[in-house]
Symmetry: C2
Subunit: 219 residues, 2 copies
């Protein structure tokens, strides 16, 4: 075996450190959740319905690949993505997956239909209507995710509090709800809640990262 072959093998072993992190559905979901903002093990455990020990083990794997880092806050260990570029990378991973695996589109379509979801508003149409002051953009993610990052001009009402705050929404404008992105159902559920109350509401498929990627492509 030549020294060049050994060098190549060593190099690709390093690349595979990241690759291995992406081989588990659970770790991919954790990375997506952390794209929305830092979270504790407990929060990740509850959101993914995995045991705390299991979440912790997956986080150790992601640490080992340097995709995440942590800070401590009292007894809480707060994990976050090691670099914003990793959420960009997750976007491109999802993009490749959606393009190559038609099963993903089928699964999404089946579930959105099951959820009673109408067609979402197009992002460019939303941006135009926001500029004209015609719509209210509602961020229905947890407030800490909104505080981490959100589409400018959006109002934050976490979905758990939506029922309580419907009366505080401005009247005479359409409402558009968005959440974590194409693989999150909060916006769809929020639209159902508002339609039940007679509010003309739509959902946005994209999340804040997809919005940013979209606006960066316009420049």
């Amino acid at each position: 075996m030549s020294t060049e072959r050994m060098w190549k093998d060593q190099l690709y072993l390093e690349f595979a450190r990241v690759g291995k992190s992406l081989s588990s559905p659970k770790r991919l979901e954790i990375l997506d959740l952390l794209s929305q903002g830092p979270k504790s093990v407990d929060v990740l455990s509850k959101t993914t319905e995995m045991s705390i020990a299991n979440v912790s083990q997956h986080l150790q794997t992601l640490l080992e690949a340097r995709l995440v880092r942590f800070t401590k806050k009292g007894t809480f260990v707060i994990y976050e993505l090691a670099d914003p570029a990793i959420s960009d990378f997750m976007l491109s991973l999802h993009s490749v997956c959606e393009k190559q695996l038609i099963e993903i589109r089928r699964i999404k379509a089946e579930f959105l239909q099951h959820n009673g979801s109408a067609e979402p508003i197009q992002l460019d149409v939303l941006l135009e209507r926001m500029e004209r002051g015609e719509v209210i953009l509602l961020d229905v993610r947890p407030k800490d995710e909104y505080e981490t990052d959100h589409i400018p001009g959006a109002i934050s009402i976490p979905i758990e509090e939506l029922e309580k705050h419907l009366s505080s929404l401005p009247t005479g404008k359409d409402i558009v709800a968005y959440c974590r992105g194409p693989y999150c159902l909060m916006s769809s559920e929020a639209v159902e809640i508002m339609k039940t109350r007679g509010i003309n509401a739509h959902r946005l498929n994209e999340g804040v990262h997809e919005w940013r990627q979209f606006t960066e492509h316009l420049q």
Copy 2:
């Protein structure tokens, strides 16, 4: 377990189909080689120094994830990337890996030093000098890779034929050699060969995909 949880699990299992493909160093190398153009199992086997049976099994995994597809040419099965977006994705995967894993830079630096490589020419400097007609850009990859795609203005002299063709190179201009990209040593070796013959030669770190990404960022 809620239907939403089942839906999420199903979705992420699909994403992990691609993720699993990226967990093997061997498959990552195969994907990089196919980014340079379609290849047969035999060519991949020889280039990666893996057995034909092993290469074939890895290709089945990549097929299963829809990252590659194949055509038949006589007894040859020619594999290629299923979509050009996959080589873009490989660029972003490598970018994340290089950023997060300093070991990669160390391994590269160690080997380029071992290979006697000087500092490469910057891509923007190269493009300026090419525009002024000051340098000859040499593509030292196999000719079929050059024919698949190459940096415009480059001349193709595969490295195995470089010694034979040195006399046909124009005199009075600097030579810049490039190959498959940052994880390929052909350009470094080509520069050594030319310097041995008294030719003022430099290497370019980037390959054709990195060049295209770079020029797309200028627009």
